[in-house]
């Protein structure tokens, strides 16, 4: 595909790796924010091209992985109600709740449907006026405008049987949480190219300045990532701290303002709990009061949910970049993509799934 294949060129990848080898004089730790980037790194074996002085730690940018267990248990409780059609992106279906997952609800006769777009869920609501249709709205800033559009359309259409279970999270507050932790090892970031396509990158400038970390907005193909790493290493070696944009074919400084406008019409920022990390102030979106009728948490009383985390899974430590997936005691044994113990083994963006599928450990 044009503008994809070129960025998978082996010769260009090797050249960037060579530039990095020639630039580096000491050890540096970089974090790629997005799970999509983690998958490219592991799948393409990029680490084997990099000098040993570079340590890549895998960031929290996997929506399925950071959605709190309580939220998954709530989703399962709502999906189990007979009048409900519960809709979700595919990778959320197999994330284990405290006891079961959404697919088990479906297997037991519940109506749980996988959708490609939140607009598909709106369509299902139109076609099934006798049912209550709920969409599991998880994701970062890339997905939030799409979910905002679904709610906005439902309101415009006067739908009374559509709602979202909202668990949206934001990148910049998570970066600050990582950087302000005393355990932090990250010295530079590859920011998530598609989050910045929507939001732009101005909000990263104060973070770079405050914590003195270079930030390079980076794409998702192997050559994008190696170019992003080379830009970050150059900044580190030069002692510069800047926000640079490697992914300029998609990202503009101010982002996509039409998408942002709708996003802020429907959502406002709120405190959010992150699975494995804990509560981060103003790190997510919730529906504004004008859209409260579309909030599944207002519609369904699921009672008190007592979430119970697996004692074996170390997802939180992995999501903060303190350990790698293969350092977990159940990796590849009790925890596999077929029988996941934790969310990062399920998702197409989860670090554990990437290591399991693509890396010899």
């Amino acid at each position: 595909m044009k503008y994809v294949d070129e960025y998978r060129s082996e010769s260009a990848a090797r050249r960037y790796a060579d530039i990095i080898h020639k630039t580096i004089t000491r050890s540096w730790t970089l974090m790629e924010i997005c799970g999509g980037q983690t998958h490219t790194i592991v799948k393409s074996g990029l680490e084997s091209l990099l000098p040993k002085e570079i340590s890549l730690v895998h960031g929290p940018g996997c929506p399925v992985c950071v959605t709190p267990l309580e939220m998954i248990d709530k989703a399962i409780a709502i999906a189990s109600q007979p009048e409900v059609i519960f809709t979700s992106f595919g990778d959320m279906m197999r994330v284990p709740g405290s006891h079961i997952d959404l697919l088990s609800v479906k297997a037991d006769g519940g109506s749980v449907r996988m959708v490609y777009s939140p607009l598909d869920a709106v369509k299902i609501a139109q076609q099934n006026p006798e049912k209550k249709v709920v969409f599991f709205a998880v994701g970062f800033e890339t997905t939030a405008p799409a979910n905002a559009m679904a709610v906005w359309q439902a309101k415009k259409l006067g739908l009374k049987n559509f709602s979202i279970l909202c668990s949206h999270v934001l990148v910049p507050p998570a970066m600050e949480a990582i950087l302000s932790s005393p355990e932090n090892q990250v010295q530079a970031f590859l920011a998530a190219g598609h989050v910045c396509t929507v939001m732009g990158f101005e909000e990263y400038i104060p973070i770079a300045k405050k914590y003195k970390v270079p930030i390079v907005v980076t794409g998702f193909e192997p050559v994008d990532i190696l170019q992003g790493i080379s830009m970050a290493v150059k900044q580190l070696e030069d002692g510069r701290v800047e926000v640079e944009n490697q992914y300029s074919r998609s990202v503009q400084r101010e982002g996509n303002q039409a998408a942002q406008k709708l996003l802020l019409e429907v959502f406002e920022t709120t405190d959010r709990a992150w699975r494995g990390i804990g509560e981060i102030p103003l790190s997510g979106y919730k529906l504004r009061a004008e859209y409260a009728e579309f909030d599944a948490e207002n519609i369904f009383d699921v009672g008190a949910v007592h979430a119970q985390e697996s004692s074996l899974c170390i997802a939180g430590i992995i999501l903060r970049g303190l350990k790698k997936p293969h350092e977990c005691s159940v990796f590849g044994t009790e925890c596999t993509p077929e029988h996941p113990v934790g969310a990062p083994m399920v998702s197409s963006e989860g670090a554990c799934a990437a290591y399991y599928h693509y890396r010899k450990v």
Binding site: R15, I19, G45, L46, P118, T142, P145, S248, R249, Y358
Partner: protein, 71 residues
């Protein structure tokens, strides 16, 4: 809404956020929404840069002993 061709697979995609997109241009699509138009000028600039670094490095001694492909 408009039709986007993903190397042969065609999907209906919301184009509200790329209002100036024209037939034949490239977009980046996420969950059924085009979130940006690929800036072809910027893309060409980057590709030119790939060629330039390839050229300039050919003149240096390239220690490319390993021949195994990118997996």
């Amino acid at each position: 809404m408009g039709t986007v061709d993903f190397s042969g697979i065609r999907k209906s995609v919301c184009l509200d956020w790329v209002p100036d997109v024209k037939i034949g241009e490239y977009v980046i699509v996420h969950v059924g929404f085009a979130i940006s138009k690929v800036d072809e000028e910027e893309a060409q600039e980057t590709l030119k840069l790939f060629e330039q670094i390839s050229g300039s490095l050919d003149e240096l001694k390239y220690d490319g002993s390993e021949k195994s492909g990118l997996r």
